[in-house]
């Protein structure tokens, strides 16, 4: 059964980007610190990133790369240049957006969707038995609020940012119960995997 899983690197104080994030500075000032656990030197593709890892960090990134579809917010997608239309292995990409797509940001594997639940359902259909990779903080919050996010894979990085862009912000005051299903210690990062509890 396909699961919609958020994969997100986060500082211990809850930031997923440094201050002043924007086009050309997608991770904000100093935000690359959060990706040091998997980014070693210049790389050209997600596959190349994974090939350089080993141990626990490799295991977790292999899981990410086994996703059969991607759901991503428009902001994250555009900051990443749309990954040139291919996140990994040509899997379908569903971009959450209320606006029409720019001509330059259209690719065969990319579909623009307005509603987060529609995006996740379409992605699950496309992913078959594989999981759906959810990317972007706003998309994660919308998916949580809509009840369509199944798991959160937090890569907790041992650093305090102080300022920047938070993962959990502008949420409704409703408790969402989680279950810790796995904790792994990799070099320079703790991988905490939580399932969103829907029962009781």
């Amino acid at each position: 059964m396909s699961q919609a899983v958020l994969y997100m690197s986060m500082s211990l104080d809850g930031f997923i980007a440094g201050p002043d994030d924007g086009p050309g500075n997608g991770l904000g000032d100093g935000g690359h610190r959060l990706h040091e656990w998997f980014l070693t030197g210049a790389v050209t593709s997600h596959r190349e990133v994974v090939d350089r890892l080993d141990g626990v960090n490799r295991e977790v990134m292999d899981e990410l790369m086994s996703a059969g579809a991607v759901v991503v917010g428009r902001r994250t997608f555009e900051f990443a240049g749309g990954w040139g239309g291919d996140h990994h292995d040509g899997v379908p990409i569903f971009v959450l957006s209320r606006r029409e797509a720019d001509a330059a940001m259209r690719w065969p594997a990319v579909t623009y969707v307005r509603d987060v639940a529609d995006a996740v359902h379409s992605a699950k259909d496309a992913a078959g038995e594989n999981d759906v990779l959810v990317r972007g903080a706003v998309t994660a919050r919308l998916a949580l609020a809509a009840g369509v996010l199944d798991e959160l894979q937090i890569h907790l990085v041992p650093v305090l940012f102080g300022r920047g862009c938070r993962l959990f912000e502008n949420m409704p005051p409703d408790h969402i119960e989680l279950e810790l299903v796995r904790a792994l210690d990799g070099p320079g990062v703790q991988h905490l995997r939580y399932r969103v509890r829907t029962e009781g």
Partner: protein, 193 residues
Amino acid sequence: MGLIRLYMTVSLDGYVAGPRDSVDEPMGVGGFRLFNWLDRRDDPGPSGQVFAEVMATRAVISGRRTYEHAGRWQGDHHDGVPVFVLTHHVPDDPPPGSIRYVTDVRECAAQARAAAGDGDVMVHGAGAAQALLRAGQLDELELHVVPVLLGQGRRLFDHLPAGQVELDLVRRLTPQVEEPAQRVTHLRYRIRR
């Protein structure tokens, strides 16, 4: 020489209390959810171990809000160890029991270290933690990360300046308990200087 260590229960989304915390509702709306793991504090296992370590600290630093919301602990946090309450304005009435008021954060840290001797100092409260972090006086963080998103409330990490502070994980303890709500993750970090 002992360490100054923050012990704080926090939701995965970073809150130490729910919304609208007050003297009447010290954990804010719904915030007592965070303390379910303390049901296991007297059991063998990681949560019991962590709680025993808390109780073995030889001095306490608390923020004023935490102190007031906790009913001033009736003057005794645990075992009569000295409690240093960091406050902007010293109350007119004399402090109860083993409580002392301090207005300067560095002075507060120095007094607590001296009072603890070879033991460790426990820090309690988001305000005190932030003040000590800003002053570079916090040595370690021990967070009890609860598997819940509160959505809103009082954040642990707030009002801090921009600028990265590197940490080293000292240990991670995860109790293997049946009840998912009590399966907290105890993360201890050393702050690099």
